[in-house]
Amino acid sequence: MVTTPPLDPNKTEILIGASRDITGPQAGFQEYGAAPMYKMWIDEVNAAGGLSVGGKKLPIRLIEYDDASDTAACVRNIEKLCTQEHVDFLFGPTGTAMLFAAAPIANKYKTIMICGEGGATTLEPKLASMPYVFSALNYSNHFQIPMFVDLCVEKGAKTAYICYMNDLHGAEYNVAAQGQFALNGITVVEAKSIPTTIADLDPIVKEAKAANVDIFCMFAYPNQNILLMQTAIALDFNPKVLLIGPGCNFEFFNLTFGAALEGVVGEGAWNSKSSPAAAAFAEKAMAKVGLPNMDWWGGIVYYSVAEFLGKAIEKAGTLDSDTVRNVMATEKFETTLGLIWWECADGGKGGGLLPQECYDGQIGQWQSGIFEVIDNDSHNTAPFIYPKPLWPES
């Protein structure tokens, strides 16, 4: 019989560690990514006196180290958080590659890590051996690209051009998109990788325009995506489907491009129309981060998995990571996203992913200033506009 280790009577707080890029190229995510959502949840928990653990109210203290967007520093930080600070839980770092680096370290020290901004296509096979890793965000083949390709096939699109950033995020989306397009009879005319430092997308946009493709996919980070939008508008490149992500899912993209964003597709999605709980959350989150920093892909997901963690800790009645982990792997909890749960690899023994039903949406499209959910399921908040409208007259 398995016994639950009792709560250490000397425990006066719950420690959550995080290696974040407080400085560095990806530092912007501190304003609009997972970090503000997690902090909002921590503030709310602490305002209520903390989490009830084994009959005792424990507040949460977040210990953040700066990794300056450097993966080696992130690995070192995670190790220090686990072995020196003895944190009880971890929030993941920013970016797919960073998650890949951090996840095995968290798992090595048997510390539960909730992954935030980042996908995990290549990490998936490893999840079986990482029972303490729980990946929150939906990503390329989980389940965005298959649903996006279904939408395009339904409308009769035949050709596609892919431009992707030469990091893990871009590589994963490129592979997933090429595979799905090929499976569904859509010809990929070209797949071009770009460096993160690219300053001129003219040649790529001109080539895609000359090829007269139906679909243009840009799998890159916000800086490159802003450049793509500017270049596409300047060169009057107007494919029937323009998918941009990540970046398109942020409200600042809408505030930057306004009417020009009409019909542009992005990864995500959720919005205030997704549910009454989502509407209330949007209002609350907006008050916390401000309108420009609203994230219509991950915002509600990050907050909900934090809620899930809190409920799992309370249900476990201990901070013992094995006990909490087992609760997380087997229980379903009501959160802002609705009822959510983790599907764990290796028959429940491995790390977890949120199943498709838990998300409010997979693919979004800007329509009249709202990032509408358009993928083919019951969560839709608007039908898919195809073809994308022409660029507005400047």
């Binding site: 180290y65 700066d66 450097d70 993966t71 020196q84 030469n166 590589a171």
Partner: protein, 320 residues
């Protein structure tokens, strides 16, 4: 045996203290807290890299910024061969691959001097990064690789072993005629050539030998990172850090880079994760500028200077 002929002070410095340090390092994982063991692994890593760097650059005066390239080669050796063979063999592969790369690069570049050599060696890091980038994205259709995880103790002891070998190699080179040749190249290359030294071959070989330890250290550290990609493997900081550590500690002696590596790593660690983390770059930059301005011979130079003053000498030699 005539014990009166033994120079006990020299014996203590050259044998007793290193042996005591070695014993301490050997038992540390069994008594030290987990994180302190990890921290010492980083000390050992940077000591290896800084001493390796000093073997060539500290003596010849050629500033190499290629350390990250050799370290990165080791990291990728771990990713490519780590699942197929025992770690010790992979360490040899990483060291050998770095040696070969350094030999080729040295043969091409070591006729260049001053800033041109420094620029070229730094270019090598960027070139390696882009080549692996290209291979991963366009040939393998992915980014990054996983490396088989090793225990903290295994990583520590492997790194300690590499450190010991690096120190022995550095001391043997320094105290040999070969080391004297390097020293004379550093003092005046043309004069060294006129004395019959095969200057180019001595430089190339030393450059290549110093790369072995960087590659070997890369293999071991990769097993700590578990996931690696070109950005992690060929991080330019691994080129600048050994140079800064050696300057900080003092390049005139082999122990200078060791002290520099330990202090540099510790200060960096405290500043990045301690209460002063917001001022990390400011404080760290100030320390480095102050060192370069006021301690051109590093901490070892300062210690030597103080020691000589205590002994009543006016000036302190900075090399030796």
């Amino acid at each position: 045996m005539d014990f009166s002929k033994i120079n006990w002070k020299q014996f203590a410095v050259s044998a007793v203290i290193p042996l005591a340090v070695l014993v301490f390092l050997g038992i540390w994982p069994t008594v030290g807290p987990t994180y302190q063991v990890t921290l010492f692994t980083y000390f050992l890593l940077y000591m290896v890299i800084a001493v390796s760097w000093t073997i060539f650059s500290g003596t010849t005066g050629y500033i190499s910024l290629a350390s990250a390239a050799f370290y990165g080669v080791g990291i990728y050796a771990a990713a490519l061969f780590g699942e197929k063979m025992p770690l010790i063999f992979v360490i040899f592969i990483g060291g050998a691959a770095s040696f070969i790369l350094a030999f080729i690069v040295g043969a091409i570049t070591l006729r260049l001097k001053g800033i041109f050599f420094a620029m070229f060696t730094f270019g090598l890091v960027l070139l390696m990064k882009e080549v692996i980038h290209y291979l991963e994205i366009t040939v393998w259709n992915t980014r990054g690789m996983f490396v088989i995880l090793q225990s903290n103790e295994a990583i520590y002891y492997y790194m300690m072993g590499i450190f010991v070998v690096t120190m022995i190699a550095a001391l043997l080179i320094k105290r040999s005629k070969y080391g004297l040749a390097l020293q004379s190249i550093g003092e005046n290359e043309e004069a060294a050539a006129h004395t019959g030294i095969n200057v180019t071959m001595v430089k190339i070989l030393t450059f290549a030998v110093s790369a072995i330890f960087m590659g070997a250290a890369g293999v071991v550290m990769a097993t700590k990172m578990t996931y690696i990609d070109p950005g992690i493997a060929f991080n330019p900081m691994m080129s600048f850090s050994p140079a800064l550590m050696a300057i900080f500690g003092g390049m005139g002696s082999i122990y200078g880079p060791v002290i520099g590596a330990v202090l540099f790593t510790y200060i960096q660690e405290e500043l990045t994760t301690g209460s002063l983390k917001s001022y990390y770059m400011l404080i760290f930059g100030s320390i480095l500028v102050a060192t370069i301005l006021f301690l051109p011979n590093g901490l070892m130079g300062l210690v030597q200077s103080i020691w000589k003053r205590i002994k009543g000498e006016k000036r302190a030699p900075t090399r030796g």
